[in-house]
Structure formats: C-alpha cells, structure tokens
Amino acid sequence: MSAYERVKQWNTFARIWHIYDAKWQNPFDSAKVISKHIQGLHKPIYHPLNNCGDHVIVFNSRHIALPGYEWKKRAYFHHTGYPGGASWTLAWQLHEINPTLVMQKAVKWELPRGLSKFGLMARLHIFPDEEIPEELLKNVTSQLRQLRPVPRTLDSYSDKEIEEFPKVMDYPNDYILK
C-alpha cells in the first residue's frame, strides 16, 4: 500500500469529532441528525457490525427550544418498582434538575434498541453551556449545521440597526403615538 493510500485509509476509518450548537434548536429533530452521526450512518462504508460511528459534542443544551406546549405537556415517566412508585416529571421540571437530560433522552430514543445503545451513547458529550473541556475541544474537526436559524431578540438589535431598518412609511407629523 502506497503512502497516499495508507493516509486515505486512516482518514476513512478515523473517528471524527463533530460539534453541534443546540441553541434554539428542537432537541427531537436534532437527535435524528446526532444519532445518525453517532452510528456512522452518514458514511458510505456503513455496516451494522462496522464500528464506524463518530463522536458528537453538543453544547448550549440549556438553551434548546421545545416546540409548542412541550415544556408544559411532555412528561418523563419513572417507576421505582415499588407500589405507588410511579412518577411523572414535566419537561421543564426535568430541565431545571439537569439541563442536559432532555437532549440526552431525545438522542437515546433515536438510537436502535439493544445493548449497542450503551456504547453509542458513550460517544455523545452534552454540555449545558458554552464551556467545553479543552481536551475534548481539541479533537473537534467538524461542525454540524444547525437545523434552524437562531432567532434574534429585540434587545440584541442596536439603536443604529433599528433606525436603519427599512420602513414602509413614516408616521405623519400630527400622529400621536400612544
């Protein structure tokens, strides 16, 4: 095997580290993309027995956006095994306890059922904020595109930008603003 071919083979079988900014993203849609990369389904060399999945670092998981009334309506079920041990935790309550859990469970549900789930979940690294350990960050070579644009709040616009924003019309001089 020539040197070029060897490097090509290394690159093909190397484990890539992807990074994903979860800010204002739907965790359930994001989980589909993330689980695909964890399993290696995005590679043409994929095979169920081929250990070709990548690592994914998800940050800003505290700032995810659930669709509709999901924060209030989505309940996470847990049973201790004892009679009367059932408990339902709403998504907003779970998020207050641990801001990575909603994202983690979303990815976990997307992965195929079975024992391989443990190994696959080990390749997912979720961080609630923008602080990521340096030893993980230095592995990153790829960024996953966000699924939807992050909306800007009104506070984030400067006065100059608001002034320069195109207007349909000017208020007449005798118009009294409430």
Binding site: L41, H42, K43, P44, I45, Y46, P48
Partner: protein, 153 residues
C-alpha cells in the same frame, strides 16, 4: 431374502431407513441437545431449520437492499443531494445503475459518485422536480439537451 412367515416380512426393517435418517442427521449435526441425535426430534428441528433458511433468502435480499440504500443515501447527502432526488435524477438521465453498483461507487470510487450526484442534481433542477430548489446550481452542463436549453434561454 427368505421370509418363512408373513409376520416376519412385516417386522423386517426397511433397508433404506438408515440412509434416510442419516440424511436428516447430517443436517442436524450442528444442533444442540437431543435435536442432534434423536431422530423424531431432529426431523422436526430440521424441517423448521429449512423453513427458516427459505425465509432468510428473502430477508437477505431485503437486508442487502436496505444496506445499499443507506450507503447511497450517506454518499449522496455528503454532496447535498437527498436520496430520492438522486435516484430520480439518475433515472431521468437514463443512468440505469442498481443499488449495489451505486453503493460500491460511493465507497470505492468517491469521485465517480460525486459526478453522478452532480448529474442527478443538474437534471432535477433542469426538470424542476419538487425539492430541487434546495440543490446547488450545477457548475457544468451534461448532455446535449441541457446545453441546448441553456442557449435557448
């Protein structure tokens, strides 16, 4: 063979029985427990095993198709072309490659596969297929028809 009475004739075992059983035992040789050596159990297990083998012939084809599809999808999405549009574009361009060939190209001939995605994307944009507005504009023109249409614009 001499049979003094009809009774003994009935009691004589069929000379083929050994070979008949042996045929079954050869097929049950790798089974576990009594289904390997006890004929009445072995034959039931062998019948079931043959049924499974027949069923698996269909499963193997379906599984291969699913795997090829997944590989082609991965290769095509790498170049920003969804699988459905990729196959549609190829079909309309009269490139009749099957899934196995395409998945082999995706893994072993990535440059060839990339040019195939470009052809498919160009054809999809040219024919204005639903979903093609998200595709990238083709850099090249493939075929005489596309070139003609380009000049007539």
């Amino acid at each position: 063979m001499v049979f003094p009475t009809a009774l003994l004739l009935a009691r004589t075992p069929n000379p083929d029985r050994f070979w008949k059983k042996r045929k079954i035992f050869k097929m049950s040789a790798h089974f576990y427990g009594r289904s390997r050596n006890c004929y009445s159990i072995a034959i039931r297990s062998v019948h079931r095993a043959l049924q499974y083998a027949r069923r698996s012939k269909d499963h193997k084809k379906a599984d291969s198709i699913a795997l090829y599809t997944q590989r082609i999808r991965a290769g095509a999405e790498e170049h920003g072309v969804p699988y459905v549009l990729f196959r549609e574009g190829l079909t309309r361009s009269n490139i009749m490659l099957d899934r196995k060939t395409l998945s082999d190209l995706a893994a072993w001939e990535p440059r060839t596969f990339k040019s195939l995605t470009e052809i498919a994307a160009a054809k999809c944009i040219d024919d204005n297929i639903v979903g093609s507005r998200h595709l990238e504009e083709p850099k090249y023109f493939f075929g005489r028809d596309m070139l003609k249409r380009f000049w007539n614009r």
